[in-house]
Every structure is written in structure tokens, then in C-alpha cells.
């Protein structure tokens, strides 16, 4: 069966259509779903779109910046309130992909895709859904149980601004330069107070089926000065409690071997 496309003017109408249509998917930028459709994915036969302008809004709020789920990587890069996200948005694909790929789609991307989501995870973003009031869910909870949200439409992602931009760091490691698929992606958010790290957050992409937190590393960093001894300890524990994935880009063994090295380079500011 050819894929059917249904377009709605409002997100609410799209959300109710999504709920009432079996084997339908919500269509954002197309980089994931058109690919699946091109390859004859049998798991869906309907694509649901929304032309709702609010879907593409970027709005500053007291809590942070609210990014509509339909905002593209290119629009993030171009927006002055989101300059702290440029390294992560820039890491996604080439210019054509960045013109198409959306924030919402990135949240649902399976490894090795989903680089932006690693940054959103480490910054403690909050996910808001269409047709569901309240505060939505923390991104960590969303990532833990993402399949449960398959039938919902993400309306926006609210990202807290890092108080000190330099406390957020991001690196995507790939074999192809300057741009390739992620071998692993690391984001760190290490706010400091009195010289010590308070509330360390470290997240990886491409290490598991979806972005995940490196809690062992966070525990080691918390309350410490970011000196070379701390960095060495963090690098040594980079893979504690994590079983990296094997895919066509790298084996689990390889990822385990190199993640500490890249974490150390990121923390020491060694960009090569």
C-alpha cells in the first residue's frame, strides 16, 4: 500500500488523528520517516502532518527557551537565544539535513542519530506534548520510556539556558571528517560554584540505543575541582555501568576503549 498523507492545520487535530489512526506516524522534517517509507517500512501506512505555526516557534521563557518541535537544526543555529546549542545543532548532518531535521524528530531518532538530543539531555530539557496540559516530562524520563510516547506529538522542548555558557561542552566523534555519523557523542554540563562542580551532568549518544546519562562519571565529578586528577578519574570511569552498542561503525569493545579518551579531551579542552 502506498503511504497515505493527512495534513491538518492545527496540532490538536493532528494529535487526535494520530490517536485514532492505526499504524500512523507523525511527520516532522521527514529525515527519519521518508527514509523509512522509501525503504518500504511495513510498520506504518499513514503519515500525519500539521501546518500549525506554533510548531515552529522559538520563545524565551523564564525557565529557559521553548523550542517548537518543528524547529529545524538550521533555525536553532540562526537564533540568537540558542547560540549555546550551536555545537550540537551544527553536528547534525550537512546543510541540507539541517534544513530539514527537526528538534522533535531528533528526540525519536535511534542511535547513531540524535546528536542534539544528547545536548538536550545533559541540559535537563523538558518535553511538552500536544493535548496534554501540565509541565510535560523531563527529557530523562522521556528517553527512558520513549516508546510509550510514540503515539503522542511533542509540541515543544523547553531548554534551560546554561548560566555560564562555558559550563556546557559538546563533542561528536566520527570517522569521517568533517562530518560523519556518530561513533559516540559526549555532552557535559558542569556548572561551578566556588570553583567546585555542582550538579554535574554527562550524557552520551551512540553508546546505547538512545542517549543516556553517564551517572558514574557525574558522581565522580560532583563537588570536585575540574583538575587533571579529577579528569583522569572521570575518564577511567567513563564506561562504568554502560554496555556500549555494537554497530557497523564500531564495536562495543572499541567504544569502551575510546570513550574515556574523548571524555578526557573534552574536559581538558583538547580539540583535535
Amino acid at each position: 500500500m502506498p503511504v497515505r498523507v493527512e495534513t491538518f492545520d492545527s496540532l490538536d487535530a493532528a494529535a487526535s488523528a494520530l490517536r485514532s489512526t492505526r499504524s500512523a506516524r507523525f511527520f516532522g522534517g521527514g529525515t527519519l520517516l521518508m527514509r523509512a517509507a522509501n525503504h518500504g517500512d511495513q510498520s506504518f501506512d499513514t503519515l500525519i502532518r500539521a501546518r500549525d505555526p506554533s510548531f515552529r516557534h522559538i520563545r524565551s521563557e523564564s525557565e529557559g527557551v521553548s523550542i517548537g518541535a518543528g524547529v529545524t537544526m538550521k533555525e536553532i543555529i540562526a537564533h540568537r537565544d540558542l547560540s549555546f546549542l550551536i555545537p550540537a545543532a551544527q553536528a547534525v548532518g550537512g546543510p541540507a539535513v539541517r534544513n530539514m531535521a527537526t528538534v522533535g524528530g531528533n528526540l525519536y531518532a535511534n542511535s547513531p542519530y540524535g546528536d542534539l538530543a544528547v545536548a538536550l539531555l545533559v541540559l535537563g530539557a523538558r518535553i511538552e506534548f500536544v493535548g496534554q496540559g501540565g509541565r510535560g516530562v523531563e527529557i530523562e524520563e522521556f528517553m527512558r520510556d520513549r516508546d510509550r510516547h510514540q503515539g503522542s506529538i511533542v509540541r515543544a522542548v523547553v531548554v534551560p539556558r546554561p548560566r555560564d555558557p562555558s559550563s556546557f561542552r559538546f563533542v561528536k566523534v566520527s570517522r569521517v571528517k568533517p562530518k560523519g555519523i556518530s561513533l559516540l557523542t559526549i555532552a557535559t554540563y558542569l556548572p561551578q560554584s566556588g570553583g567546585r562542580i555542582r550538579g554535574a551532568r554527562v550524557a552520551y549518544g551512540a553508546m546505547g540505543p538512545r542517549p543516556l546519562r553517564a551517572t558514574a562519571v557525574e558522581r565522580l565529578l560532583d563537588g570536585q575541582y575540574l583538575d587533571s586528577a579529577t579528569i583522569e578519574r572521570a575518564a577511567a570511569a567513563a564506561c562504568d555501568g554502560i554496555e556500549p552498542r555494537t554497530d557497523s561503525l564500531a564495536s562495543s569493545w572499541y567504544r569502551r576503549e575510546v570513550v574515556g579518551i574523548h571524555l578526557k579531551r573534552l574536559l581538558t579542552g583538547d580539540r583535535r
Partner: protein, 161 residues
Amino acid sequence: MARKPLQFQLNGRHQAVFTDDGQNLLDLLRRGVGDLTPKYGCGQGTCGTCTVLIDGEPHLSCLTLAETVDGRQITTTAGLAEGAELHPLQTAFMDNFAAQCGYCTPGMLLAAKALLDRNPSPTREEVVEAISGNICRCTGYEPIINAILDAAGRRNQRRYG
């Protein structure tokens, strides 16, 4: 199968066509309109050879739902030359031996055009970034980068010289 009417500008000319439900823009351009210059390389957004410009910005036509281009302006490699006069990028690609098998060339040209239209004097790094979504398996990229820089230089010379 539902077919939807669709109107857009292709290389400055008005097109009114029907699109099949779920059809991607690459298929529509090639089989529906007969513009064979965008190529199929992967169908998954990794090779860039299907790149077209939509309202001046590079997009992957294989991942673009055809019906979403209603009312928009599309540029393909078929629209680069003006009559018999090649676009400076085309000339520079020839002069710098930037095409070997030629299959990535249409996508490369459009990625480069999008860059130069926005940034007439790019650095080498900016050129590399602009074509980072386009794969070439023949040249090793150097002649392509050189050609784009060459074209930028020539265009500026023509404009200001």
C-alpha cells in the same frame, strides 16, 4: 491511490502536476516532471546526490515529501546555466577536473550554489562544511573544493572587476 494536485516553480518555470500519495520529491522531479538532473544515491539522506534548492536552501529531495513543495521555488542543476552560458560553478568544475564519474556533481553544484549565494567569498573551511553532506567517491574532494573557491573568485572578479 490518492493523487494530489501540486503547483510550484521549477527553475523559474511554473509546474502544475499531480503527486502520488507519499511520493518523494526526487521521484516526482524525475518521473513526474522529467527533470533527471537530481540523482538517486541512497534514499536515506546520507549521500547528497539528490540535493535540490527549495527557496534557495539545499534540501534532500529523496527525503522531501513532494506535496510539501506546493507554492515553493525549486532549483535543480538543469536551472544553473543561462541558455548556452554555463554557471561559473559549472565552468569551474570543468576547469578544475572536479567531476570524474559525475554522479555526485549535480548535488555538489547545488550545495555550492547555496553557499555562494549567501556567502560570495567563503573560506576553505566554509566550503568543506557546505559540501559535508555530499559524498564523492572519485575525486577525494580536493578538486571540488578548489573548483568552488575558483568559482567564488571568478564571480567576485566579474562583479567587482
